[in-house]
Each structure stands twice: as structure tokens, then as C-alpha cells.
Symmetry: C2
Subunit: 165 residues, 2 copies
DNA sequence: TTTCTTGCAAACATTTTGCAGGATA
DNA sequence: TATCCTGCAAAATGTTTGCAAGAAA
């Protein structure tokens, strides 16, 4: 089960989902239950297709159709349980939002590795900036793109025309 | 004040494009010329479709096909002339990169307004974080989502089902 | 003349939707 | 029972690509 370290979670993701559904007069079905469990069974980032595959590989025969997965992902997003991290290979990538502390990402353009980090100052700076524009921030997304530690170490990748600034 | 940061543009976007094409042994064609001119004719953010429409509306009959626009957008990106800002309505949004200082965006979730801002500290913080992970940053993208000044002023938008957790 | 480009239409990939039968409160 | 939900297949959408004709070097 997922480790509830940094943020104290009052109720499980599934319960939170159920609450959301209730506010919308929607139902907690077998399929939605399977999906929310599968989504929170691992803390990896995922896209729709990966989730569908994970569900297909289940040995318990609890399959869910592609359409339903897409429909549920949207609901989980609306419910604040997951959120889009980035786009990768033309797909939306999601991660857990509920029960997980705010963080941002370093994204390696070569190997695609996602490194999470957290920095309080960024939020503070954003608040200051937003105040100036009368903007009310609800969330933010920060991605730094470049080369991860591993991919930095390959001299043959960089052609000779280095940017000597 | 050292002006090396605030981008002094030596050559025009079109010349810069030509340079890039040369390094790739590609040609500056009539179509590419039209596109780069149109892209830099206004400083608005744009997506592929908007650019195509702008080109279609030209009275001088300088039409360019959809495929060529897509192909050129990719090249302009590779050439460092434009870059993706965000996704909006399932489309990639682009903005000028060449000759324009680094900045980030406040994005209104209601009206879609994009507000640009610049803050030096963010870059510094990112550098510090990256150092810690041995990551080499080449660029970053920061979007704050929420409500712009105008859209903040409408109390009737928020339904009563507030998150009371 | 050789290679690169274009426009077109068809192909693609992801995501959405209409609908009929099935499930839930 | 009155909705709501699902799976399917078809549709929609944004983007890419193969190809034959045309243009640039």
C-alpha cells in the first residue's frame, strides 16, 4: 500500500473519490473502484495507456474498458486525486496529487527521467508575483528541462559547436 | 548594466532561420520565408491552426499548406526561434523565443488569459536545485494556474461544494 | 542535375462520444 | 424504478507521412 509519510491523509484515495462522486450525484461503481485502486497501488507517473495495460494485466479478470479509463482519469483529476505532470510522447502524464506534497520536476530530454524536487521559495515567489497582477494562484507547474546526471556524462552527445557564453 | 542577458538581437529571425537551415543543409524556400515572417509579424502566442488561418487570410495569395506549416513550426522550434509555451484546447501553443527575454506565465483557467512575468530568482533557485541532482538545466517552463484579476471578481463562479478538509 | 520541398490525401495516435444493454442507489 | 454507467465501435482531433510533381542550389 502507499506510504503516507509527508502528508497526513485523513481518508483513502478511494474514499475521497467516493466523496467527490457523491457531490456530483455519481456512483461508485465496480470499474471506478478498480481504477482508483490501481492508480494508487503504485506511486509511479503514468499515462492513460499505461494504466489500461496495468488493468489488462490483472490476473483477477477485473478488466475495464479503454473509454471508462479515460472517463475516470478525468474524474480523478477533477476530484483532486491526480494531476497532469507533463506531456511525454504526445500523451498526458499523470501523478498522484492527493496525499502527496507539492513538488516540481527536472525532466531529462535525453532519457526522459523525471526527478521530483520540492522548494518552498518558488511558491513564495509566485505568490509575490501573482499579487502584483491581482492573480489568484491555485496551482503551478514547473519543469526544468535538460540533461540528468547520467546523460550529462556522455561527451560524444554534444557536437563541437558548444555554446560558450 | 550588463546587457548580455536581456538579449540583444544581432540578426533578424529570418536570417537566424536561414543560418539554422544552412547548418542542416536545408533550403530557405518561399514557403519557409513566408512562415517565419508571419510568425514574427506579431508577438502574440499562437498555435498551428491560428498560424495557418493567418496565412490563409493573407491577401497576397502567399498561401502555405497545412503540412508545411507543421513542418516549419518544428524547424523554428529546433532553430530556437520559437518555443512551446503551454497546451491550450489540446493544442500546442507557441511563442517567440529568439530575441525575447526569458519569462514565465500566469494562466487563467477561466478565460485562458496568459500573463507574462519575469523573475530572476526562479532561475537561481533552479540552478541550486539542479546542482544538487547533478542535472544540467537547458530551459524551464513555469506556469501558475488560477484566476486572473478579472475572473477573480465573480463570486458566482465558485459553487458551494468547497473543499472543507 | 541532384537534392530538397511542397501539397495533397491518407495515415496515425490519442481521446471523445452515441448508443444499447447492464448496473446502482 | 429511475438514473447512471459501461463497452463497443465509430468519430473527432491534432499531427505526421508517403508520394509524385515542382523548386532550389
Amino acid at each position: 500500500m502507499s506510504d503516507l509519510e509527508s502528508v497526513s491523509v485523513a481518508i483513502s484515495p478511494k474514499e475521497k473519490y467516493r466523496e467527490y462522486l457523491a457531490t456530483q450525484r455519481l456512483r461508485m461503481t465496480r470499474e471506478r473502484s478498480i481504477i482508483v485502486e490501481e492508480v494508487f497501488a503504485s506511486h509511479e507517473h503514468f499515462d492513460a495507456d499505461q494504466l489500461i495495460q496495468r488493468l489488462d494485466q490483472r490476473s483477477d479478470g477485473k478488466r475495464v474498458s479503454r473509454s471508462t479509463v479515460y472517463r475516470s482519469i478525468k474524474q480523478l483529476e477533477d476530484a483532486g486525486l491526480i494531476r497532469k505532470v507533463a506531456r511525454q510522447d504526445d500523451r498526458d502524464l499523470y501523478e498522484h496529487d492527493y496525499g502527496y506534497p507539492q513538488h516540481d520536476h527536472l525532466i531529462c530530454k535525453k532519457c526522459g527521467e523525471l526527478t521530483e524536487f520540492h522548494n518552498e521559495q518558488i511558491k513564495e515567489i509566485l505568490e509575490t508575483v501573482a499579487r502584483e497582477f491581482g492573480f489568484r494562484i491555485e496551482s503551478h507547474r514547473l519543469e526544468a528541462h535538460g540533461l540528468c546526471k547520467n546523460c550529462c556524462r556522455r561527451p560524444q552527445d554534444r557536437p563541437s559547436k558548444l555554446n560558450l557564453i
